[in-house]
């Protein structure tokens, strides 16, 4: 009668191949990104330099040490940071969309970006003495601003012991508008610092260093692991909260855990590279169009696609008008939007 369970119904094969293919693509794109730049370094040399740094591999250096510095200390941290931020924003976007059951949700919906922007702008306006403290005061203030604003939104939105998502979105939008207007005022009155502020607000990887990678890494990795662990629960949240509860989900705790993790990785990402739009909202939708809505696959596939996309966008940002850098947010929208619209037209079916 029905001897073998119909495993094919979950389309695991296509989705697992998708994950494997994207991991390979990510490695290729990352290697490409370390090769491309103002100093032309042959692909083979780049490969050798990268491989020589891996344990257990012995390669006798045949290249100039300046090349090694460029690859290892300048380009590699930048590529890794771009990948991490892309992964973080895409995963946070997918999570917010799932949690709010709203396709328009993005990682900045509940005040993370506006809080970070206010923190960063305050950092830019501080007297020079503050900037000599030995660590990045701007990322620190941006991170603090992001966490404070989301905490305030969270507290404003609470009703008794529950956290209705509609209230959360409205509180986030309202507080975000308030913070944005303060940021606008500060920008107008910032005098000659306006250029630096605007550049930060549009996002850039131009100041990436290993120290930043090391600071961001623990937040983003922890957050991503938590989100991936709760992927099945997030599927159940796509029913309504009542059904999720009747199927054994502690909905209020789930909301808290997912909001916390998604907000933390967004705050970490935004603090170091500024507010990069588009990745968080459209990468998850692009993944849905290709591989379906199941969060157990949507989240890992979004992580990989987000990383690849942002690394590619950063290559364009630093090469097209070199030596001038284009803000990365401009690239993500210019390149991503047409591709997304193409996908949208090709697959005419319900995606959310």
């Amino acid at each position: 009668m029905n001897a073998a369970p119909p495993v094919h119904l979950l389309h695991w094969r296509g989705r697992v191949y998708g994950i494997a293919g994207l991991i390979i693509l990510l490695a290729v794109v990352a290697a490409l990104a370390t090769t491309v730049g103002s100093v032309q370094i042959p692909f083979l040399t780049t490969g050798s330099i990268l491989l020589s740094r891996l344990p257990l591999i012995e390669i006798v250096p045949k290249w100039a040490s300046t090349l090694e510095t460029i690859i290892i200390d300048i380009r590699l941290p930048r590529v890794i940071l771009a990948g991490l931020v892309g992964a973080a924003l895409a995963a946070a976007g997918a999570t917010y969309q799932g949690l709010f059951r709203n396709p328009l949700a993005d990682p900045y919906l509940i005040g993370v970006a506006q809080g970070a922007a206010l923190g960063a702008v305050i950092g830019f306006l501080l007297p020079p003495g503050w900037h000599a403290l030995g660590f990045g005061i701007i990322p620190l203030l941006a991170f603090t601003g992001a966490l404070i604003s989301t905490t305030v939104v969270y507290m404003l939105a609470r009703v008794g012991k529950t956290l209705p998502v509609t209230t959360l979105i409205l509180a986030g939008v309202a507080l975000g508008a308030l913070l944005s207007s303060i940021v606008s005022y500060l920008i107008i009155s910032s005098g000659e610092k306006i250029h630096g502020i605007m550049f930060w607000l549009m996002g850039s990887f131009s100041l990436s260093q290993w120290s930043e990678v090391i600071m961001v890494l623990p937040y983003i990795l922890t957050g991503l692991v938590v989100l991936l662990l709760y992927a099945r629960s997030l599927n159940l949240m796509q029913l309504d909260e009542e059904q999720a509860q009747q199927l054994g989900i502690n909905v209020e705790r789930l909301k808290l855990v997912l909001l916390g993790a998604a907000t933390l990785i967004t705050a970490a990402a935004v603090s170091f590279v500024g507010v990069i739009g588009f990745v968080g909202i459209l990468i998850p939708h692009a993944v849905r169009l290709i591989w379906g809505a199941d969060y157990r696959f949507l989240l890992p596939l979004s992580v990989l696609t987000g990383a690849i996309f942002l690394i590619l966008a950063d290559i364009i940002a630093r090469t097209v008008l070199a030596p001038t850098e284009i803000p990365i947010g401009v690239i993500t929208a210019i390149c991503g939007a047409p591709f997304f619209l193409y996908l949208l037209r090709r697959r005419r079916r319900v995606i959310f």
């Binding site: 029905n2 369970p5 119909p6 495993v7 119904l9 979950l10 059951r101 662990l229 099945r232 629960s233 599927n235 159940l236 796509q238 029913l239 309504d240 009542e242 059904q243 509860q245 009747q246 199927l247 054994g248 989900i249 502690n250 849905r288 379906g292 809505a293 199941d294 157990r296 079916r349 319900v350 995606i351 959310f352």
Partner: protein, 277 residues
């Protein structure tokens, strides 16, 4: 095998009391029907029994334990719910929805394996929904979704069922099919079943006991024959009716009396003949 009990329970939303002093008991292998007019609180009882809304006062016991002391996960092992017209994510496939019923049986780090898939597939077979497996929810009709919800609750493998209008969107053939399936579950699996039903005839045919709710309290309770009477129907629903015995099993059947009974063309003899009893 579990029993579900409500002891002197008052429930409502905000400060608004919907139901007062409700005493209810559903035993293993028993099917109890909740009947009553629109908005009388049938769904509210089901939501209270699945711990969606806490009662203002009184106690709700599941398997002898106070429901507030049972975790969501444990409760989902014991009680399965088929909600009325629920929201389903339109981009998911029917099979993915049914598979969600396995959630309470899976550990934190576990994904659905062949065993879960086989159980979900069997549940779809029993409910006649296998042919829908790869369709997306957005493409399904109301009746098909109803079948899917039934499959999901079967896949959940619980010991009791709470059903909110499980036959609301079904044609008569499917109504009998789903209610027959529920009857087999409670008789073979000794499940306790509580179902809110609009259709008094179906309620009388399939339930062991009926609870008639009106204006926030239990108006009548007992066997279908005791509860489904022309007098009760007139008082609770404000509808005139004739109640007959089913020619095969003797259970009560309700025929409504339309206002146009005295319109020209319908002879008096006709009326006399049918209103004997």
């Amino acid at each position: 095998m579990i029993t579900i009990e409500m002891h002197d329970v008052s429930i409502g939303y905000g400060r608004n009391v919907v139901l007062k002093g409700i005493n209810l008991r559903v035993s293993p292998g028993e099917m109890v029907g909740l009947i009553g007019p629109n908005g009388c609180g049938k769904s509210t009882i089901i939501r209270a029994l699945s711990r969606i809304i806490p009662p203002f006062s009184g106690r709700i016991l599941v398997d002898g334990q106070d429901i507030t002391r049972v975790s969501r996960r444990e409760l989902a092992h014991l009680i399965g719910v088929v909600p009325q017209m629920p929201l389903l994510p339109s981009a998911f496939t029917a099979f993915e929805i049914v598979l969600m019923g396995r959630n309470p049986h899976l550990g934190f780090l576990q994904y659905e394996g062949p065993r879960e898939i086989a159980i979900a597939w069997q549940a779809m077979e029993k409910t006649g929904t296998q042919s829908l497996a790869e369709r997306r929810v957005s493409e399904l009709s109301g009746g098909e979704i109803q079948g899917l919800l039934m499959a999901r609750v079967l896949a959940q493998e619980t010991k009791a069922l709470l059903l909110d209008e499980p036959t609301a969107n079904l044609d008569i053939g499917r109504q009998i099919e789903i209610l027959g399936l529920i009857r087999n579950l409670r008789l073979d699996g000794n499940m306790a079943v509580l179902a809110a039903l609009h259709d008094l005839n179906l309620a009388a045919q399939y339930c062991d006991r009926l609870v008639l709710i009106d204006r926030g309290r239990i108006y009548a309770e007992g066997t279908p024959r005791e509860v489904v009477t022309a007098k009760n129907i007139a008082e609770v629903y404000g509808a005139e009716s004739c109640v007959y015995s089913h020619p095969v099993n003797g259970l009560p059947c309700v025929l409504l009396k339309a206002d146009n009974a005295r319109l020209p063309g319908l002879s008096d003899t006709h009326e006399k003949e049918f209103s004997k009893d």
